[in-house]
Structure formats: structure tokens, C-alpha cells
Amino acid sequence: MLGLLLKDFINLKRYTKIFGLFIFIYGFMAYTQKDASSFTSIFALLFTILTMSSYAYDEVAKWDVYALTMPISREEIVRSKYYLMLLLVALSFAFSTVFTIVLNFILGIANIYLGLEACYIAASVIVLFYSITLPIITKLGIEKARIIFFAVYMIPVVIGYFIKKAANAGMIKIPTRLLEISKIAIQYRFIVIPIVLLIALWISYEIAIRIYQKKEF
């Protein structure tokens, strides 16, 4: 397991310089705009790409076939990718948090923790994104999965857009009960989100394991 993670981190090391450049540019932009939220979202996006890149590297090298001949189980290969994703999300979260606090301090903002919720939401969105996409990548491989992602993420966006439009025009009425539940969920977001993410991750992992167990190379 450690070997697999080390392999991914060594492969991703080449992104360090580009990341440094992005941090500098977007850090400077956040400073001039006196707002760290754009930095948080960009940084979350960059870290999201890294997990996908690790799959792409493995796919190009045809690594999995080779790894399965070593003392590594199929479960470990799947698990290592979930660990990698969570580690990268944790890194992204830690970095964004530190950056936001430091920027708030430099800018002399009274509430030094202002904007940290954006870091929390960004990290949660990435975990949810990967809970859905990792089984798809496991099944199809990263190249084919990229096309599917577009469809998977565009459909809810388009549907959401039309529901909102229809609701605004008074064509449909969103059930009051649903709105109440949403309000409660937002109110207790620091409890609800982790529970939802844990359930999503668990289901996602179980599906990915089952897919990978049956995979032929």
C-alpha cells in the first residue's frame, strides 16, 4: 500500500513547479481582490486534477497488470487510490485553510477565520465528486471516463437550471417539506455533510472493489 502511494506521489511530483506558479499568481490575485475564496476554489480544482492524473499515468504505463503480479491484492490497488484522493483533499484543505488565515491576517480582517467555510465546502465537493467518479474510472479507465464525467455532471446542472427557471416562473412549486429539509441540512451542515460523505465514500468504495475484482487485464 505504501509503495503504491509513494509511486503516485513520485509521479505527481512533477506538478510541484506548476503548482508553485499557480499559488503565486492566484495568491497575488486573492491579495489584490482582498478575498481568498477564488484561491480556494482554484486550488481545490487543481488538486482534483491530480488524482485523475495518477490514473492517467498508471494507464499509460499499463501499471495495474504489473502491480497485480506483485504481492499486492486487487483491494489494495483500489484502496490506494481512495487514500490518495483523501490525502490530496486533506492537503488541499490544509493549504487553503492556512492561506485564508494568513491572507486575512495580512489584510487585517477582524474575523481571521472568514472564508474557511469555502475551504470546507470545496473539500466536501471534491470528495463527493470522486465518490461518484472513482467507480466509473475503475470500470472504464480514465480516458473513457472523462467523456462520461461531462455527461454525468452536465445533466444535474441542466436539470437544476430548468427547475429553477420553472420555479421562478411559477410553473412548478417546490414542496415546502423539501425546502424545510434543505434548510435543516444547511443549518447542521457540519454534521450532515460528513455523514453524507462517509456514506457516499463507503458505497463508492464497495462498488469500485466489486468492479475491480471482476476486471480482466
Binding site: G3, L6, I10, K13, A61, K62, M70, P71, I72, F217
Partner: protein, 305 residues
């Protein structure tokens, strides 16, 4: 047992730890839309090199993948070092060194990175042996694999396979696409590995000359069927090649004929049971044959008996 079974027992089969065989394949079936591994049976004796030969698309790689549990098999069972190949325990997997057709390592890595990674994958990884082979093969330590030639990549894969005290090497087309000098160097390493009588090699290749150089046993697969799995020397001693006139072929008892190849000067006949044949027919000069010729006659001979 369904269908035709190709059974080639080199000796008795046993599935336990003390088996004489490093690998035992019993009645292996794998069906694809356009290809079938058809009831494959053969064993790789411990302490030997088994050459696994056949033309491209004959089923070598599919059989290798089945052995390595990379594909699901439809029927049969495979035993490696005394355990079922499906879900082989980690301690057994650690005793197997595998070299695949490609390098299967990431282009961004260098030798030092690979050492660090493998140390964490193989509990029995031996850094000293790894770097000794790296030096011996003149593999640059700081260059990334992207800058390696195919030969260098294959050597590195072999070095990895040899650096964790493997008892069994499974090599799939490990010498294909390499120049003769590099191939010779690699074959020497395999022979060195075989100095330990507990060590075994299963070596698939379509380069028959490599198999002839180092193998003790040869298993020949053709269109998903095992044609033979025998001791290499026995194969060569038991077969012979006759050059004669076309009309003389009819004088030979068909029971001896493996295949006939005709050309405008006459005919070439591959015969089996050479010793018996020579006692019966002293008017034919029987030449020594090669594994390659035996294979060619079986697959392409005008007649097969």
C-alpha cells in the same frame, strides 16, 4: 471433463507444497468470441526452464495471464508453488518474479525511485542485489525511464524480478524486440539464476532460438491447443529430418511421419521415433532436427499424421 483434453504429464501431478512442479495447469479453458484456450494441461517441473512457444496469437499470453490470475478462467485450475493461482497468498506472490512484454513502469521514474517503491511492495526486497544488477547492466541511475531504450527497460524489469529472492520467474516475451547481444546477455542471467536447483523459469517466446538455447522442456501451443509439452532433448532425439524424392515418401510408414514439406527438388519429411525408424529403414539418411523445424512441420506441414 468437457471437450477434447490436451494432457501432457511430464510426471505425476501433485498440488501440495512438496510437489515436483512449480506450476501445474489442469484442464484450463478460457473462451473468447474468436479464440479459445482449449483444455490446457501442462506442468513446469521445479528446477527447470520451460520454454512456452507458439506463433503470435496462439494463446501464450492468455495462458500466462491465466497463470498470473489477470483473467478469469472458465474451467480448470492452476497451481503455483503449491497454492491455487486465484488469490495466491502474498508470501507466495513475493517468490515470483514476473517480466511482461512491456516495461509497465512509469516513464517519470528513475532507478532510485523504483528501489524506494519496490522496497515498500516486496518485504523480501534486496537493495544490494538490485544495485549490483543495475551496475552490471550499466543502467543509468538518475535518468528517467522515458530516456531508456527498450532493451534497457527490459533489463530493468528483469533486475526487479531478480531482486526479491524469487524462486519462480515468469517471463512473457522478455527477449522479444531486443538485439541479439542484449538477448544473449539476458539469457546468461537466466542460466545464472538456474544455478540454484530450487529455481524455475517459465519463459514464453516466439523466438525459438532463445528457447533452444536455454530451455529444458518445451511446451508448444497452437491455436489454443497444447501440441506437445516435452523434454527438449527428447524431442530433438526422437525426431529426425529426411531429405528424399517426392515418390519415396510413400515408402515410409505413415505412423512415423509428423509432416511433409515438398519443394521442386524433392521432399522433406519430419519423422518421429527416430531410433525405431532407423532400424527399420536403413536406406534413408536421417538428419538432426530443431525445435523450430518440429514446430513448423506440425503447424505448416503438408500432411499431418
Amino acid at each position: 471433463m468437457k471437450g477434447k483434453s490436451n494432457t501432457f504429464n511430464i510426471s505425476n501431478t501433485s498440488n501440495n507444497e512438496n510437489s515436483k512442479f512449480a506450476i501445474t495447469i489442469n484442464n484450463l479453458v478460457k473462451q473468447y468470441d474468436d479464440f479459445k484456450l482449449n483444455h490446457i494441461n501442462f506442468q513446469v517441473p521445479k528446477g527447470s526452464i520451460m520454454g512456452f512457444v507458439g506463433e503470435n496469437g496462439a494463446g501464450k499470453t492468455t495462458t500466462m495471464k491465466a497463470i498470473l490470475d489477470l483473467i478469469t478462467i472458465d474451467e480448470g485450475e492452476i497451481t503455483i508453488l503449491g497454492s491455487d493461482s486465484r488469490n495466491l497468498p502474498k508470501e507466495k506472490k513475493a517468490l515470483i518474479g514476473v517480466v511482461l512484454d512491456g516495461s509497465n513502469l512509469h516513464d517519470n521514474l528513475n532507478v532510485n525511485n523504483i528501489n524506494l517503491i519496490m522496497q515498500r511492495i516486496y518485504l523480501n526486497w534486496e537493495e544490494r542485489i538490485f544495485y549490483e544488477y543495475i551496475k552490471r547492466f550499466n543502467l543509468p541511475e538518475t535518468k528517467i525511464l522515458k530516456e531508456y531504450s527498450r532493451g534497457m527497460k527490459m533489463k530493468l524489469s528483469i533486475v526487479i524480478a531478480l531482486s526479491h529472492h524469487a524462486k519462480l520467474l515468469i517471463l512473457d516475451e522478455a527477449t522479444s524486440g531486443l538485439d541479439p547481444m542484449v538477448r544473449e546477455e539476458i539469457l546468461d542471467i537466466f542460466l545464472e539464476f538456474m544455478q540454484d536447483e530450487e529455481h524455475t523459469i517459465l519463459f514464453s517466446s516466439h523466438i525459438i532460438s532463445d528457447i533452444e538455447k536455454i530451455a529444458d522442456y518445451v511446451t508448444f501451443i497452437h491455436k489454443g491447443n497444447i501440441v506437445f509439452s516435452k523434454n527438449k532433448d527428447d524431442l530433438i532425439y526422437q525426431h529426425g529430418l529426411i531429405h528424399c524424392k517426392k515418390d519415396e515418401v510413400n515408402q515410409i510408414d505413415k505412423a512415423y511421419i509428423v509432416g511433409v514439406r515438398e519443394n521442386r527438388y524433392g521432399a522433406e519429411v519430419l519423422i518421429k521415433n527416430k531410433a525405431l525408424f532407423q532400424r527399420q529403414y536403413n536406406n534413408f539418411k536421417v538428419d538432426r532436427t530443431t525445435i523450430e523445424e518440429i514446430m513448423l512441420f506440425i503447424t505448416r506441414g503438408k500432411e499431418s499424421f
